[in-house]
């Protein structure tokens, strides 16, 4: 079943036509809604064609880690809920949801987009922790890129909650103080199917792809994170071409952010 689907997809790609009529480097229409959940400190809903994901930020006050006493904590989690895809199941996080979360996390962390020192309340005693949850409502492919875009969009509109006199968070109060973002790291994944490279895959394309490379870049084109997936190795030339595609797409996606 998968092999015949794969052949069908590759025959199309040979003529630069994908299952939904797009070209190999075409991205579906992406749009972002902000502050979709009043319970969160910041939230966003990102649509990529029929793919639809929610990202929300909660903030709390915690004790810092011993090795980083003056830095706040960042945590990124992906909940691949069974609502969004008939193949997702209820239960502990799958390998796929861990990988989605870790790739999203790595881009934000390694680019130092979130300046963790600004989250320090009192060194060694208390710091803000920023918890980002990314949740697909409808997974019609390209979760990886949308998770990163959604997380960044939600962080970008997040505002600190209030603080009580006893040092605890006051969620009833909202301040106007926004989270500081130093840059906008955008992950773009390029998928290899046969000898072809495509971006923004459909579910079917994700299924038959033999390799993928997620390239996270910031405004000046600097690469801040890489992750290769899939069992098939890549040539240096392929990697270079993938990076070029990713930088181009990232520019377009970044322009959509508020």
């Amino acid at each position: 079943m998968t092999e015949s689907l794969r052949q069908h997809i590759i025959q199309g790609l040979d003529k630069n036509i994908r299952l939904d009529g797009r070209k190999k480097d075409d991205y579906r229409k992406v749009w972002i809604e902000y502050n979709v959940s009043n319970s969160a400190e910041g939230s966003a809903r990102v649509h990529c064609g029929p793919t639809d994901i929610l990202a929300g930020v909660k903030m709390g006050i915690e004790k810092p880690y011993d090795d980083t006493p003056d830095r706040g904590n960042l945590m990124v989690n992906a909940e691949l809920i069974p609502m969004s895809n008939p193949e997702f199941e209820v239960g502990p996080p799958s390998d796929w949801s861990i990988e989605v979360a870790r790739i999203t996390d790595r881009g934000i962390r390694e680019s130092k987009a979130l300046e963790q020192k600004t989250l320090c309340i009192k060194a060694g005693e208390s710091v803000w922790s920023v918890m980002v949850d990314v949740i697909p409502v409808n997974d019609a492919g390209n979760l990886l890129d949308m998770a990163g875009l959604g997380a960044l969009a939600a962080l970008g509109v997040s505002k600190y909650p209030g603080k009580k006199e006893n040092g605890k968070v006051d969620y009833e109060k909202h301040t106007d103080k926004k989270l500081q973002l130093a840059c906008k790291p955008i992950p773009v994944t390029v998928w290899k199917i046969g000898k072809h490279l495509v971006v923004d895959p459909l579910t079917e394309e994700e299924k038959v792809a033999e390799a993928r490379l997620t390239i996270t870049t910031i405004e000046d084109g600097t690469i801040v994170a890489l992750q290769k997936g899939g069992e098939t190795p890549l040539t240096v030339e392929e990697i270079d071409e993938m990076v070029g595609m990713a930088i181009g797409v990232a520019k377009t996606l970044r322009a959509l952010l508020e």
Binding site: S37, G56, N77, I81, M83, P86, V137, N138, V169, Y171
Partner: protein
């Protein structure tokens, strides 16, 4: 100070503003969103499909399985840890009971109809919003149904019967400075089958007298009728373009 005027100025039988939309999760067989005030529920239905694990299959007919989940950022305070806790499990089961009377799964032995209910923001009344969304999603999925199900929380705040309590009303005693503040707020979620007026979900936290309960249930049925009209309108909108 008695509770003569509601915090947000509503009449006693008024709900918060409602938005309902059917067909919000394209990959699912049926789906719907129901928003009431700052509580948003999304429901998606998959099935009838093969039941896993196998030992839960029923050869006499299909099984309705609900899964209630609050998104981690949807809580009123701290982040909600992902995964099913005891509260979510209980709510999932009472949702099944609330919806089961209207669906006919006799044609699907050994199959399951999965209903996933997700809350993206919460301000009280989540199980009712979830049931109301799930009923629309089941209809959208083409499951045989005798009726819809419309749910709302009713209750007593300082001896005043009110419909669709919000978070502040549920926690009225924490805010009020009246001498009777130890009198608990009664919070009574009810699910109503609008066609017959039967009640398929009934829970209560708090304290209530027998005659007050009757009054509250009548109010619940009255408000459920209004929600039912909104459900029907949303379903029709999906299929009339």
């Amino acid at each position: 100070m008695a509770y003569t005027k509601r915090f947000d100025g509503r009449a006693i039988d008024d709900t918060r503003p409602i938005t309902a939309k059917v067909g919000v999760v394209p990959r699912a067989d049926g789906s719907a969103m129901f928003q009431i005030g700052n509580t948003t529920a999304i429901a998606a239905v998959y099935g009838p499909r093969e039941m896993h694990p196998k030992f839960m299959q029923n050869p006499r007919g299909g099984v309705l399985r609900c899964n209630y989940n609050m998104m981690p950022f949807s809580g009123h305070g701290d982040r909600v840890r992902p995964g099913q806790n005891r509260r979510a499990k209980e709510i999932s089961r009472v949702m099944e009971n609330a919806l089961r009377p209207v669906v006919d799964l006799s044609a699907f032995p050994n199959a399951v109809v999965d209903v996933f209910v997700e809350l993206s923001q919460t301000d009280a009344g989540t199980r009712c919003a979830g049931i109301t969304a799930a009923a629309m999603a089941l209809a959208d999925a083409g499951i045989d149904m005798k009726d819809l199900v419309a749910a709302v929380a009713v209750g007593f705040v300082d001896d005043r019967v009110v419909a669709d309590l919000n978070y502040n009303e549920e926690h009225y005693n924490d805010y009020s400075d009246n001498p009777d503040k130890d009198r608990p707020v009664a919070d009574i979620p009810v699910a109503v089958l609008p066609g017959s007026g039967l009640i398929s979900l009934l829970q209560m936290d708090g304290e209530v007298k027998r005659e007050h309960l009757k009054e509250a249930l009548e109010l619940g049925r009255h408000v459920a009728k209004k929600i039912y009209e909104i459900q029907k309108k949303a379903l029709k909108a999906r299929y009339m373009e």
